[in-house]
């Protein structure tokens, strides 16, 4: 063991030591959590509204004060001193404790909400009961485990968002992006849906009830958006409901492709998305833990694209299951729907294989062909064999397994619970079908790229280390190549931490976006022409 490893065992020295103020701030934050914990163990608080306010205030104030003490006295600049010395951010003891605590929380949240105090018929107890006053204030209804989760989620994005704003106060891209995720979380994910719930039963909705709808959540991230009960709810809610349904469809097929073309998938993943919002704020301290190895990249490609196939099949099956067969009742029937899905997939597949084939690795081509054949075979199988089980399984089975495996286990328990172990973008990188679809477009058809600044790279590795998506940014930068990767969420941290000003996120013409010339590695043109010959 070399000496620098040994010194990490020393405790209580800068840069990893906590100041006195930070210790008090931690205590305040923890006391806020303690109130929630006590409530979870059914300690009955007399004035719930007051205790909830105290708890949330303490959590926020603790985080904000801690950050203020960490950054306010320092000059603007990169603040990564001691990241790999602190046990919380380097998979040390506290990292594992935090990981286990978060994972347990998610397991209880998804599968045992009764331990949080959820009561089906009757008034809530425990920690959910503590949140009742706030829920009633917003939507008029009692709280659910999802309301508790949503509130804590928003508080986390807000408090850690403030931390991030201070940490990167010299970087306007980071500041504006962070304000954006804070806004979308607070307004779109938290407040608007609760207020929308107040309209339910109102005559403006023709007496119908809207489903809970976070408007910025797009299918397939929002995999349940087109399920039968939601479609019914949309259609029963007058013009507003219908408009929301149309918006849901447009956001998949029109808004997302246009914005991804213009700005890359970052417009969503690191500016709007709630999962991204939490990863960028509360998860920022863990971004360096993502695995950069080539093998991890391989796993990522297979897993995330499999999820896309899964969600496509599942959604097709679910929509299929509630459609009718009679064209006179409704124009969209089971058969027309299946044919349209097949046609759409074929068009995309053909376009990619004809025009973009040369940009794929061999395994990507095999994978694409394989999955395409499977989907088409399943659709065809159904089509020629009459009714029965769609895609070999009941649509309900597909839906339930997707929701369990992907919706709960992957995005929640693993995706967020394992922040301190695998980094803050595990879900976004390995699991999110929305990210994969936008990434597919970003790689093939978008103006976005990270430009490498000529020959200025010194291969230091800060960019790769702090890439939360596990992209080996340096591998491209040191060759003078631009970075065009489907997984890049455009957080901009590689550019921020680069000590030589080598990387710039930008949108520009498609031509020459990927195969940048290497002339500027510095030598004269003769040599570089030789080097560029592949």
């Amino acid at each position: 063991m070399s000496t620098y490893d040994r010194s990490m065992a020393l405790t209580g020295q800068p840069p990893k030591i906590l100041s006195r103020n930070q210790k008090i701030a931690t205590l305040i934050g923890m006391s806020g959590l303690a109130i929630l914990l006590l409530a979870a163990f059914n300690v009955s608080f007399p004035n719930k509204g007051m205790w909830l306010t105290i708890s949330l205030m303490a959590i926020s104030a603790g985080t904000v004060w801690f950050s203020w003490d960490a950054y306010s006295q320092k000059l603007p600049g990169i603040k990564n001193d001691g990241v790999w010395f602190k046990s919380i951010s380097s998979k040390g003891f506290w990292g594992w404790i935090a990981g286990i605590a978060l994972t347990s929380f998610y397991i209880i949240l998804y599968f045992y909400p009764e331990y949080l105090g959820l009561v089906k018929d009757g008034s809530n107890k425990g920690v959910i009961g503590l949140f009742d006053p706030l829920s009633r204030l917003l939507s008029g209804n009692p709280a659910s485990q999802w309301f508790v989760y949503g509130t804590l989620y928003t508080v986390a994005i807000f408090a850690f968002g403030i931390k991030f704003l201070w940490k990167y106060r010299h970087n306007r891209y980071e500041r504006i992006r962070t304000m954006s995720v804070m806004f979308f979380q607070t307004a779109f994910a938290f407040i608007i849906p609760e207020l929308m719930a107040r309209l339910n039963g109102d005559k403006i909705l023709n007496g119908g009830s809207l489903p809970y709808y976070d408007l910025k959540n797009v299918w397939p991230l929002n995999y349940y958006n087109f399920e039968g009960y939601r479609i019914k709810a949309f259609l029963s809610s007058g013009d507003i409901g219908f408009a929301l349904l149309i918006f849901g469809i447009l956001s998949v097929f029109v808004i997302t492709p246009i914005l991804t073309y213009k700005f890359g998938k970052r417009w969503y993943c690191s500016w709007v998305c709630g999962c991204g919002g939490l990863a960028e704020t509360a998860g920022d301290a863990f971004r360096q833990l993502s695995d950069k190895s080539v093998s991890a990249w391989k796993v990522e490609r297979w897993v995330v694209h499999s999820v896309v196939v899964f969600v496509t099949l599942m959604t097709t099956a679910v929509i299929y299951s509630y459609l009718g067969t009679d064209t006179s009742k409704y124009w969209l029937t089971k058969s027309t729907f299946l044919i349209s899905v097949a046609v759409l997939l074929t068009v995309v597949f053909a376009w990619v294989m004809i025009f973009k084939r040369e940009q794929f690795q061999k395994d990507a081509i095999y994978g694409a062909i394989g999955y395409f054949v499977i989907i088409m075979a399943l659709i065809g199988f159904h089509f020629f064999s009459g009714d029965g089980n769609v895609f070999l399984f009941k649509s309900e089975t597909l839906r339930k397994s997707y929701s369990f495996l992907i919706g709960s286990i992957f995005s929640g328990v693993i995706g967020t619970g394992f922040y301190p172990i695998f980094g803050n973008r595990v879900w976004c990188r390995f699991g999110c079908p929305m990210a994969a679809m936008m990434g597919f477009q970003q790689r093939l058809f978008s103006r976005f790229r990270i430009t490498t600044n000529g020959g200025q790279c010194i291969s230091c590795g800060n960019c790769s280390t702090y890439c939360e998506m596990g992209i080996d940014v340096r591998a491209y930068a040191q060759k003078g190549e631009n970075i065009v990767r489907s997984s890049c969420v455009g957080c901009g941290i590689c550019s921020a931490v680069c000590p030589r000003g080598v990387l710039k996120l930008e949108n520009g013409p498609l031509e020459g976006r990927i195969d940048s010339n290497q002339v500027l590695l510095g030598n004269d043109v003769d040599l570089m022409t030789l080097v560029n010959k592949k």
Binding site: Y4, N80, G455, R500, N523, L527
Partner: protein, 449 residues
């Protein structure tokens, strides 16, 4: 099969190895006494500061070398015998070569100060130096004060490293302003201020007289030449430049000056022996460059060039337009073309300097006062596009053109405040011109590729 042996696994040696592999099937052996695998020397500081672990500063995964059939040998070459094309590793193992590339880099300068070899006195160049720093300065209790001698790039990096652990630093700089042998005054002044902002005890125009030992032969203090002041300290960092690391070649018959003497083809006086990177010394300087260039980028270029030569395409080392970069604590620095300090300024050279009124941002543009030709730019706190300046330098653009199109060259992240208007207006005032800043044009920028 031809046997290519490369001594040194730094950026020069590894670039050569990679490119030889790209171009040929020759057997490649890389020898290093420093580490098993190639790492980024410039990133050593980030390991001490906790930004990265040592693994992170290795640009290739460990399987890369075997996959690409680059054989790695750990050991110090102690002797080279070109007559029988043989070298000796660690005074025991002998190795035959058909072609030899010397890429052994540098070692820190020592100028014969009394006490320069005491315990607690060290440079910062190698992985071993980093390990030693962990022993000498693990924290502020063991190391109550550090003294750094020599105001260059490594000195300021070492200061930043020690400050990250809250160790008080006294920084002895021979010049009367930081790095003003290289930087023009305005820039050097700004860096002086920034060093003080970081609570570093900067002593300008101050020389080291001697390093004093305690009873165990460990450093106890240093004595300043000018005042005789004694500064108590637990570590002395010697960062007064570097020198080629070529002692093992003495008596081998290979022509040595300060470095290994090479011609423009990077060939030494001995057939089939080449030298690249920090340790190579050109017979004649190339343009405004120094005969020995201890810079990351030139090491890389020489490695690529020598690979061509070795693979049958004898190629001259022709570095393009000069560029470089560094970071002074929080301030990024880039340079394209030539901007000399007042000390080294050419008689035809004129400067335009602009500094932000409140932030630590400035630029200096050098141009030819007779022909108005743009010669180079230094930027601090603003990132600039390499490609654009390279084009401007190749086309011998005028300084007016550069000033007018400065926005095209900006490489700051999106949404950063632009300074072009302020810069152009200062230029107009200084030189009685009426140039208008042109808006950034993606068309112009990307058409340059």
């Amino acid at each position: 099969m031809e046997n290519i042996v490369i001594i040194g696994n730094g950026i020069a040696g590894i670039s050569a190895a990679r490119h030889i592999r790209k171009l040929s099937d020759k057997r490649i052996i890389v020898i290093s006494g420093e580490t098993d695998y190639f790492f980024s020397r410039t990133a050593l500081m980030y390991v001490y500061m906790g930004h990265m672990k040592f693994d992170h500063i290795q640009p290739y995964e460990n399987w890369f070398w075997e996959k690409n059939r680059i054989e790695l040998v750990r050991g110090y070459v102690t002797k080279v015998n070109p007559e029988i094309k043989q070298l000796v590793i660690d005074e025991s193992r002998a190795l035959h070569y058909d072609k030899l590339i010397i890429a052994t880099g540098s070692k820190p300068n020592k100028f014969g100060w009394p006490g320069q070899d005491l315990h607690g006195v060290q440079g910062l160049y190698s992985k071993q130096d980093l390990d030693l720093l962990e022993v000498n300065a693990p924290n502020k209790d063991v190391c109550k004060r550090a003294v750094i001698v020599g105001g260059g790039l490594i000195g300021i990096e070492l200061a930043e490293m020690l400050r990250s652990r809250d160790i008080p630093v006294t920084f002895l700089v021979r010049e009367n302003s930081f790095w003003n042998g290289v930087l023009p005054n305005g820039e050097s002044q700004m860096i002086n201020e920034h060093i003080l902002e970081h609570h570093i005890d900067l002593r300008l125009a101050t020389n080291l007289k001697e390093i004093v030992a305690d009873e165990n032969g460990k450093v106890k203090s240093v004595i300043v030449a000018e005042t005789g002041e004694e500064i108590q300290c637990d570590i002395v960092g010697l960062t007064a430049g570097v020198t080629p690391n070529i002692d093992f070649l003495k008596g081998s018959g290979i022509d040595l000056g300060r470095g290994v003497k090479v011609n423009r083809f990077l060939e030494t006086n001995v057939k089939d022996v080449y030298a690249i990177g920090d340790c190579a010394e050109q017979h004649e300087p190339i343009g405004n460059r120094r005969p020995i260039e201890a810079v990351w980028y030139t090491g890389r270029m020489m490695g690529e060039t020598v690979a061509q030569t070795i693979c049958g395409n004898r190629l001259e080392y022709k570095p393009g337009h000069w560029f470089n970069s560094a970071k002074f604590l929080d301030i990024e620095y880039q340079t394209y073309g030539w901007v000399f300090s007042e000390r080294g300024m050419k008689d035809y050279e004129a400067h335009f300097h602009w500094r932000h009124p409140s932030e630590k941002i400035c630029i200096t543009i050098a141009f030819n006062k007779e022909t108005n030709e743009f010669l180079g730019i230094n930027t601090f706190g603003i990132r600039m596009r390499h490609q654009v300046f390279d084009k401007w330098l190749s086309k011998n653009q005028t300084v007016d053109h550069v000033i007018e199109h400065l926005a095209d060259a900006n490489f700051d992240p999106e949404f950063y405040k632009a300074h072009e208007v302020a810069i152009v207006s200062k230029f107009n005032t200084d030189f009685g011109k009426s140039i208008k800043s042109r808006k950034k044009s993606l068309k112009r920028i990307f058409a340059m590729g």
